[in-house]
């Protein structure tokens, strides 16, 4: 069967990660979701190495922890917490919407067209609000030496 070919290749590659075209905030939330996901994977592999190789001897564990208590590493840890809070909440939003919940009732396509994500932005707003609250709670604990 003959297939209709698109006029332009529908793949922007890495450029598509940065430039979302006519898509709005949800597109950039998705880009950030990817960036935080890749960052968390990198951290996960480093964290796994540190907490297993140095865990077998007390002296090596204490040396590693002394290095990790450096303020720059603490800042890095805080960024990991932020990335996790964002990635998990946005992931939850994506799952809810992929399964068709919280999308609202279908409406006739009247110009200017609005997709269901943009009509029902409350999930995106709830995500940003909750992530901000979690960020503040962890910031308080980090600032007080946690």
């Amino acid at each position: 069967m003959k297939q209709i070919q698109p006029r332009r290749k529908n793949s922007l590659g890495l450029i598509g990660w940065v430039w979302g075209g006519n898509y709005k905030i949800e597109r950039y939330l998705y880009t950030l979701h990817r960036a935080t996901g890749l960052g968390l994977l990198l951290f996960c592999l480093i964290h796994l190495s540190v907490t297993t190789f140095f865990r077998l001897q007390q002296s090596s564990w204490e040396t590693a922890m002394a290095i990790l208590h450096n303020p720059w590493f603490k800042l890095g840890e805080y960024l990991v917490v932020l990335a996790f809070a964002y990635h998990s909440l946005n992931g939850l939003r994506l799952i809810i919407q992929e399964l068709g919940f919280g999308m609202g009732k279908p409406t006739p396509p009247v110009y200017p067209y609005r997709d269901s994500l943009r009509k029902n932005r409350r999930w995106s707003m709830a995500l940003v609000g909750t992530a901000a609250i979690i960020a503040l709670v962890f910031l308080y604990d980090f600032m007080s030496g946690g």
């Binding site: 865990r55 939850l92 946690g146």
Partner: protein, 120 residues
């Protein structure tokens, strides 16, 4: 059909990672707030605290579960990202086997250490 189940497993693994990693994050980083709530965690990263946790089966189980779900979710996600850029079937097969090998090695090592410490 296989990809549908793999994607479903990705979503389920994501939720399980969020739950297990939240417990880990709160326990390791919110010690000041937990202390104010009456839950006393004495320096969670110290050698004695780490060793005490390692000898409890609940923590070993949590770490192994977190590692299993986390590795699946992260490496399957990485594979999807690379697949968007690598279109040839050979490249995709190489990526799949590389990621699978890396995941199995990390899971084996990350499971071995908590089990050894549990018995120590």
């Amino acid at each position: 059909m296989k990809n549908t189940y793999l994607w479903l497993a990705q979503l389920v693994a994501g939720i399980l990672v969020a739950v297990t990693l939240s417990i880990h994050m709160v326990w390791m980083h919110l010690d000041t707030i937990l202390g104010a709530l009456g839950i006393d965690i004495k320096e969670p990263t110290s050698w004695t605290s780490m060793l005490a946790r390692s000898r409890e089966i609940i923590w070993a189980t949590l770490y192994i579960a977190l590692l299993t779900f986390g590795l699946y979710h992260a490496l399957y996600g990485l594979r999807n990202v690379i697949f968007e850029l690598a279109k040839s079937p050979i490249a995709r097969r190489v990526v799949t086997w590389t990621i699978l090998t890396l995941g199995i090695l990390a899971l084996a090592w990350g499971t071995y250490v908590p089990i050894v410490l549990l018995r120590s």
